[in-house]
């Protein structure tokens, strides 16, 4: 049933830790060693780990702000165009541009657009959806969603050297270091 990838090209090295502390320390260490193409895995969000792995400010808030503004403009623009330009109708003696009555829809559209951008943006920034990923090839990796902690350094990293890097990782208190192939 599972998809077997042949060829056996090396994706990277995976170090497994049994508690978050060493993982964070290890992540910091390898970054200080100049490794960049790396990622750390934990069963729950750990702020320090994110920093350690070099993820600081997210661009998401800005995107959401833009989304909201666009939503507001679209929302009010639609109502104004319909009521004033496209088919002006005398509704209960109210003026064509009864802007106070247009506020609720404008607001809802703002929220809607912002929320859509927030979700799609999050997926995009995380490169999701990505059902296939080499790390899944590692049989141990399924414990990343339970109680194990992983650090993966990719082979494509210029500083990567199979033996050197393996030695470094095991030196950082990894319970086990394994190779991850494509």
């Amino acid at each position: 049933m599972s998809y077997e990838e042949s060829g056996g090209r090396l994706y990277g090295l995976m170090a497994e830790f049994d508690s978050p502390g060493p993982l964070i320390a290890a992540t910091r260490a390898v970054r200080e060693r100049g490794y960049r193409d790396l990622d750390a895995y934990a069963p729950y969000p750990i702020e320090e780990l994110a920093h350690a792995a070099g993820h600081h400010r997210s661009r998401l808030p800005l995107l959401v702000l833009i989304g909201g503004v666009v939503g507001a403009i679209v929302g009010f623009g639609l109502q104004y165009w319909v009521s004033v330009i496209e088919y002006p109708l005398n509704v209960g003696g109210r003026p064509l541009n009864s802007w106070p009555a247009f506020i609720p829809v404008t607001f809802e559209m703002t929220i809607l657009f912002a929320a859509l951008v927030a979700v799609l943006g999050m997926l995009a920034l995380n490169g999701l959806p990505m059902p296939y990923h080499p790390v899944f090839n590692s049989p141990r990796f399924s414990f990343a969603s339970r109680d194990r902690y992983f650090l993966v350094i990719e082979a494509q990293d210029p500083a990567f050297d199979p033996d050197e890097t393996r030695r470094l990782l095991s030196g950082l208190g990894a319970a086990e270091v394994s190779e991850v192939e494509y």
Partner: protein, 216 residues
């Protein structure tokens, strides 16, 4: 654990999620396009008629005035469909024995009215009045198309509400001198936009878009 999905699923899933918005947009566009398409609006569709009556011949070639048959177009909401006797005015003499005309003669003999299929057919909740449009300088061909070139009569316009509104919102695009209303050969280009706007003023055309003008 091992891989569940093939690498290609990455692309597929991304396209399907981030492309969703475009799929929806396309669906809406398609629906609108279909609603305006000839099969739905019955534009240029030929209907089965008791007689292959040719406006091309009677109007285009013979040059009979519209009002000769459609007598009440200037006085009533309904333009009028000619009674059999009107046909017989000529056809008691002309082509009286043409097999094509047999239904007319039969109707005249038996008194059974001819039964035509409506080509221009508005819904029951729409109330159109020929007389006022004619009086305000809207020509026959504006809505009925090049009737003088129709061997078999078909609908030249969609009769959708948006089509009605197009004129009611800007009659200057379609108005013509009253003298030219029944002139099937009249060419709108003979008048400038300004001249037509002047006609709208002169004829006191109130291009009404209030609902109760057509719906009651």
């Amino acid at each position: 654990m091992s891989q569940i999905f093939h690498p290609s699923t990455n692309t597929i899933s991304r396209v399907s999620i981030f492309g969703a918005i475009f799929f929806v947009a396309f669906g809406v566009w398609l629906a609108a396009a279909l609603d305006r398409s000839a099969p739905v609006t019955r534009e240029n569709v030929v209907f089965e008629q008791p007689i292959k009556f040719s406006h091309d011949h009677h109007v285009g070639e013979v040059g009979i005035d519209c009002r000769y048959c459609h007598t009440s177009v200037e006085t009533s909401s309904f333009a009028g469909i000619p009674p059999t006797t009107t046909c017989m005015n000529c056809h008691s003499q002309l082509f009286a024995d043409a097999p094509m005309l047999e239904p007319v003669l039969e109707s005249f003999r038996s008194g059974k009215p001819l039964s035509w299929t409506r080509v221009y057919d508005l819904p029951d909740f729409v109330y159109f009045d020929h007389s006022i449009h004619v009086a305000k300088g809207i020509g026959c061909t504006t809505c009925h198309g090049e009737i003088d070139a129709m061997p078999l009569t078909t609908k030249a316009v969609s009769l959708k509400m948006e089509w009605c509104l197009a004129c009611h919102r800007d009659p200057a695009r379609f108005v013509r001198p009253r003298s030219e209303v029944f002139n099937v050969a009249w060419n709108p280009a003979t008048l400038s936009r300004q001249q037509r706007a002047a006609l709208v003023q002169e004829y006191g055309i109130q291009s009404k878009t209030s609902c109760s003008i057509c719906h009651r």
